[in-house]
Symmetry: C2
């Protein structure tokens, strides 16, 4: 064979392979957009079940429902993986007001942060000290803080294009604010909601007390962005105002729950496992449609799309609906623990936990060589306007699985609207667009297809 | 100078230019995202004024409001350009029902298509013939059509990724259906709404009777997608059912209206004019937030962003809010006519008329060389996730301006949600996300900045 012949053969081979891939992806996207199931599944999860906080009746209903749906897909195996989860309950709705002079009060919308202790039946009323973050708290010290309610009010930075960057720049106030404020003898903590929009929804979310004993923990609540601005303005006019709030939440005993897992067994390399997942639990205020009902139904849809497109994976593909991402990550940890104990060989994991919005691409936590491998497929995604193939964070639930050889990936949907809804009462089904959700599922299925077909390049 | 020195000098120059451009664009995006005015302007247009059909009181209020706002921006010139526009009015709400047997009726949501004649006070009741489009209508012929209501029910193709492609593939039913059906002596026309979603909103939009005399015109209405499916299913069970509808619309005398124009005069090449625009009129059912209040406030914001970023354009930059795009294009035609009569030298025109969603890029109707020029700036847009620089349609309002030397460009926002709202009652302000709108304005301002700074390459 002369050289030219080899080159021609190579070009022909490449063209055929590309056409195969193009056709397969077209079939996948068609099946998602024309006859997708993700949206109807999400409708049930959101509107028939609702918010699915770990340990709740709704979380168990979601386990039962998604298992039944996966059972109906004709997969090779569907099972529940037991995991013990924390059970925190909000109790009766929270209540707060600003008192500018005795008897002159204005109510403001708040909600307990997830994991907060209650205020006690009489609530807490005290003066307020506003800070822009933990640094300012430290600089003020015990003299200024003691006996007061600390109001963390640093807003998300609107100039950042990726709203997750703006979130990262603020969330320490929510996560660690109460633990830090306790060091200076504060009485409680109010945190500006992690929301780029001005509105009246308080946004909950996880917090940690570190190793502070239960009896020394400060109650902590989020206030809506409008409420935060109102409080801040009122404080400037009247620094001595009182703030009252009452939280009725409670940490109960841990209970048993489940990760829900469905699997298509690999035809030639069944011992190599590829995971696609989201988390089935959600916060309790909304119905958890974007966070992360979307990721769950997309993960289920990946299996369905591979099946209806007629593709027989070489490797074992698992959809894993993780329990308890929001306040414990017990499901992710349990899945990784079992995988290790069984000596399972996970080669790839993809998480969708950034909302059901138009997919822009994927972030990869993997070797440069594996990233390049994915970037080589960018052209195939162009017709679907999927254009980001970048290094980055993949996802919380799949995190504990991570090793140096694996490809860890995260779906990157358009981020502009996410924090309008995140952890708030308005994370609801009507804010999910059917096509955006379906395009996400098809993009995930396509990436799984490509990594299954070509394998994860061994970069060691 | 040796060659290396020249190369180094060139690299240095390039780097400085890129850094300048990077900084300028960063300033523009910051100003849009942190202190943007577009969203508040749109709030007023949508919620204080509302739907702005050509010739309506609201259209005039929109002219007055946007002129006053541009007057407040410290531009070099703001003026109204008179244009005579058609005035079609909907009248009292439309009404329709399916009658499966005498006295057994189900109401369905319809709305008159823009420009339709009325049905007369007693409405029209007749049997229905469902067709998938104009081809099928022709193949059925007069025998099957005569005396019936023609029901055009070809849905938008959900598998197309760009929803505007799906729209293009269907809109002939709405635009020409009545004129075609008249040839076969139909009594009226019902068209499935141009909507990819199943819901209860009928979507209006322009139609044409061609040169059919007024007395021979058929009344034409859109039916919601749910209504269309219901009618289609019911027809299969009962092909002899009757359909009743009543439209109360009317074509009145033409009236005077205005294009609203604001201008920053160019510092070194004032005779070269760059236009950025949207259309100020809208349909009457919703408040026209996406179509095209968004494009108008973004165009105004482009001028403001250039000013607050401290940039002094070399060329004359005009924001043009065109009147009567929806049912006549009189504003676009008038603007081009005046430009020609004054021998103005337009070098660039950019339109935003695809909704206020996250900007994905721009389509260009220009020479290959000019397209390459724009594609050369793609890297500058990467931090803002603006990635499409493609050949394509630019926009209706700027269309009449077009010549071979110009760069015609259209903002390309994410298209997935657009047709959920397009021309329907739910094209309203609450469906516009502030950041998505602002990112669009900043992207437009950045493209204008680059074409102004570097000039449009003469490709002749």
């Amino acid at each position: 064979m002369n050289k030219l012949y080899i080159v021609l053969l190579f070009i022909t081979f490449q063209t055929v392979a590309q056409t195969d891939d193009e056709n397969r992806m077209r079939t996948i996207y068609d099946a998602a957009l024309v006859d997708g199931k993700a949206y109807n599944w999400l409708n049930y999860l959101s509107n028939q079940i609702g918010g699915r906080l770990s340990g709740s009746v709704q979380a168990q209903q979601a386990v039962d429902y998604t298992k039944a749906q996966m059972d109906s897909l004709g997969l090779d195996r569907v099972w529940l993986q037991p995991v013990i989860v924390p059970k925190w309950v909000r109790g009766t709705p929270e209540f707060a007001y600003i008192e500018t002079s005795p008897g002159v009060t204005s109510n403001v919308p708040i909600c307990a942060l997830g994991g907060s202790v209650a205020t006690g039946g009489r609530g807490i009323k005290a003066q307020v000290i506003e800070v822009s973050g933990i640094e300012e708290l430290k600089s003020l010290g015990k003299e200024k803080i003691s006996g007061k309610i600390v109001f963390f009010n640093r807003p998300m930075n609107a100039s950042l294009i990726d709203t997750f960057d703006a979130y990262s720049g603020c969330v320490d106030q929510r996560y660690s604010g109460a633990a830090e404020a306790a060091k200076y003898e504060a009485l409680g903590v109010i945190v500006r909601s992690m929301n780029l929009r001005q509105d009246d929804y308080p946004h909950t979310g996880a917090m940690s007390y570190g190793d502070i004993p239960v009896e020394d923990r400060l109650p902590a609540a989020a206030i809506s962005t409008n409420g935060a601005d109102f409080l801040s303005t009122t404080l400037k006019l009247n620094p001595d105002l009182n703030f009252f709030f009452k939280l009725n939440c409670k940490q109960l005993e841990d209970v048993e729950s489940f990760n829900v897992i469905g699997e298509i067994k690999g035809s030639t390399n069944p011992e190599e496992i590829m995971v696609v997942g989201g988390h089935l639990d959600s916060w309790d205020l909304g119905d958890g449609s974007h966070d992360d009902g979307a990721g769950c139904v997309q993960s289920m849809e990946v299996l369905r799309l591979l099946k209806v497109s007629g593709y027989k994976p070489k490797r074992t593909i698992r959809a894993v609906l993780f329990m308890n991402e929001e306040n414990g990550l017990r499901g992710g940890n349990k899945y990784a623990e079992i995988a290790e104990s069984k000596n399972e060989n996970h080669v790839f994991a993809l998480e969708s936990d950034s909302g059901g919005f138009t997919p822009r691409g994927f972030s990869f936590d993997c070797s440069d060589q594996n990233l390049k491998q994915a970037q080589g497929w960018a052209r195939l995604f162009e017709p679907y306007y999927v254009h980001l193939f970048v290094k980055g964070y993949a996802g919380a639930d799949i995190g504990p699985l991570k090793n140096d050889k694996m490809v860890m990936a995260g779906l990157q949907p358009d981020s502009q609207r996410y924090f309008d809804h995140h952890h708030a009462e308005n994370d609801t089904f009507e804010h999910v667009n059917r096509r955006e959700l379906e395009l996400g599922a098809a993009s995930m299925a396509s990436l799984v297809y490509l990594f299954d077909k070509y394998g994860v390049i061994d970069s060691n």
